[in-house]
Amino acid sequence: MAQGNVTAASSDDDVLPQVGAWREAGMKVALATVVSTWGSSPRPVGSQLAVEDGGRFVGSVSGGCIEGAVVHEALEAIKDGKPRVIKFGVTDEMAWEVGLACGGQIQLLVERVD
C-alpha cells in the first residue's frame, strides 16, 4: 500500500500541531507534503515536513536523503509566498547530488502557512 492507502499515522508523523504552535509564537512556517511517489520511496503520500524560518524542522518526507534540499525550498517559499511542486528522484538532473538513494521518486508540494 505504498501509494497512500491506509497507514497508521504515528503522532511522531503529525507535524500540524507543531505548525500551529510555531505560527502561534509568531514564526514563519512552510509545509512540505509528499503528493506522489513512484518506485520504492521511503515515505508514503501525505508525509509532511514543517520548517520554521529559523531553520528548525519536524517530520520527514524521505528517509533523510533530501530533507536538506526540501528545507532550502521551504525557506524560499516562506520568502516569496508561492506554493511550488518539486520532484526528486533518479531521473532528476540533480539526482546524483540530492536524489533518493533508494531509486524511488517523489513529488512534493511546498507551501507557506499564512
Partner: protein, 233 residues
Amino acid sequence: MKRAILDRLQKDRASKRPVALATRLADGAETIVYPEGAFGDLERDAVVLAAARRGLAEDRSGVHQTASGEIFVHVYNPALRLIIVGAVHIAQPLARMAAIAGYDVTIVDPRQSFANDERFPGVPLVDDWPDDALAALKPDRRTAVVTLTHDPKLDDPALAVALRSDAFYVGALGSRKTHGKRVERLTEQGFGTAEIGRIHGPVGLSLGAVTPAEIAVSILAQITQVLHPKDAA
C-alpha cells in the same frame, strides 16, 4: 496553507471527524472537504469535492487529474484503532507501542484489578463484558482486535463479535493447543472454518518472543503485516 484552514483542520482531527484537504497544485487554492459539506477556496467546485470524497471513501491520499487541474487530496481519517481484550501484562507494552505506531488504543476488561489507571495511565478502559464492549465499539475495517486474557469466558465473547465485524485483524493469545480448543468451542457455537480462520492464533509473528514487551512487538509486527498485505510478500 491559510491559517483558518489549518485551525479548522486541527479542530476536526481532534474531534475525530473524517476530513480531507484538497489543494490545487497550480496555485495552492485549498478546501476542507467532509463527507457532507466543505469549507474554503474551492468549496463550490463539484469536481474537486467529488475527488476529495472519493479519497475519503477509499481512505487514500493522492493527486487527482480533474477538469479543475491537478488536485492533491490529503485524507485525514481518524487513527486506526486497536482494541485489546485483557488488561494483562502484555497489554501494557502493547498499548504504548501501538500508540507510538499511530493506533487509537482501547482496553476492554471487566476485572478492575487488571484494568485501572495505575496500570494503564491515559489509556481508555472499558469495564463492560467483552461482547457488550465490542458491540458498542463497533470494530470496522480500520480496527484491529486482540484478545489476551487466556480466559475463554472473556476471550470467546469478544472473538464472537470481532469475527462477525469488518475488523482488519483479529488475534488471540494462546498456544497451539489452547487455540485448538478455542477453534472447537467456536465451531460448536456455529462459526464456520472461514470465520475462525480469520483468527491469528497463536498471536503474533514467530520471533521467538519471550518477555511481554517482545510479545507485544510480535503482535504489532503481525498487525502491521496484515495492514500492508502487498508490501509483506
